[in-house]
Amino acid sequence: MKQSERSPNRPVGDDDLTAYVDGELSAERSAFVEAWLKDHSEASDRIEADRALNERLAGALAPLAETSLPARFRVENVENARRARRMARFNRIAAAFALLLAGAAGGWLANGWSRAQGPDGHLVADAVTAHRLFVAEKRHPVEVSADAKDHLGAWLGNRIGRPVEIPDLSPQGLTLVGGRLLPGENGPSGQIMYQNAAGERVTLYLQAGSGSESAFAFSGTGEAQALAWRSPELAFVLTGPLGREQLVTIAHAIYHGDAR
């Protein structure tokens, strides 16, 4: 029950005396307690002592809050310190991640295009072998050339057993050269070849998928970086003498075109 709901003339208790010292009583109740104190000198002395104590504590500790504001407590500085700590943590994680990537790449280099490397090792190895063999071709790089683009897609799709659309990578600066059918460990495979303005060739190797998807997985040596991933329909390996970022950008374009 709240103080205000009770009779202002009820007997005075210790709780009243405490609240009276701190000015927490209603005006009515406060007047009643004050009148009561006139006849109770012991309680009255105690109240005096407690009020003096309040003043003493507040007065003695006041200087602690009268200094200038230390720079470390400027909210702006606290915020900056917090941000710097967060960045440091992020950088540590990024560094660890970079080491991991370097380790993985080192593993690839050490193994060459080992067939034992990873679940898609054989796929990547086939793709890279085919890439190296045909990008060097001057006169017959492809079986079906770019002007029969629609036929190429239908033909590869029929042989692989999955619908194949030839990705348009002109926004990425790549012109279609054409494509060819190749034998693969898991049945027929297709290779689609593109070329950029500098004459560098990029190939997209396709094979029937297994129904499950996978994330992008990198592997490669300096002159032929490979990026592999799977959609439920198809397994893809993108190979080319490009930086990883460029390959990822191209792969994204293919992936989104494929999903469309």
């Binding site: 709780d15 507040a58 003695a60 500790l61 504001l69 909210v75």
Partner: protein, 167 residues
């Protein structure tokens, strides 16, 4: 940043509370900094029914309570730590008085010390002090009553101790 100036307005009072709670300048300063950090990160989650001041004190109090459980006391002698805090003032008398009051507070149980600091020094209404300590108002009042009884005794004994020191 709107919250920056609002928080800064209470920082010195928070620091006074932290100093009186810990009686250790380094611990107190860390506590205040952590309080500001947490207040910034929880700014949007703030209870709108509780004014900013008791909200900040509640954060500091919670941090203090959780830190206090795993704290390793600094190897300083208690007296040295108090001198360090009292050095805030240039006036000798102010320093002596500050030291004495801190010593008196040191002899209170933590709950009672917190109650008397919030009400008598920081001037929080009972309801806000109760919110800071996360207890009912009645508990705040009984802690205040017990704290005052002990402080009255000490203040009585303190006068003679002071006289002895002067002589």
């Amino acid at each position: 940043m709107e919250e920056a100036s609002e928080i800064e307005a209470h920082v010195l009072a928070l620091r006074r509370f932290a100093l009186a709670l810990t009686r250790d300048r380094d611990l107190a300063d860390d506590l205040v900094q952590d309080t500001i950090e947490r207040a910034l990160s929880r700014w949007r989650l703030r209870r709108r029914d509780l004014p900013l001041r008791p909200w900040l004190f509640a954060i500091l109090r919670n941090l203090h309570v959780s830190a206090w459980r795993r704290r390793v006391r600094s190897p300083f002698v208690a007296g040295d730590r108090l001198d360090e805090i009292a050095a805030v003032s240039d006036a000798v008398e102010t320093r002596i008085e500050l030291r004495q009051v801190l010593e008196m507070l040191e002899n209170l149980p933590e709950d009672q010390r917190m109650a008397i600091l919030l009400v008598a020094v920081e001037g929080l209404p009972y309801a806000q002090a109760a919110a800071v300590m996360d207890v009912p108002v009645g508990t705040v009042m009984s802690r205040l009553g017990r704290a005052r009884a002990r402080l009255r005794e000490m203040a009585g004994a303190g006068t003679t101790a002071k006289l002895r020191r002067v002589v």
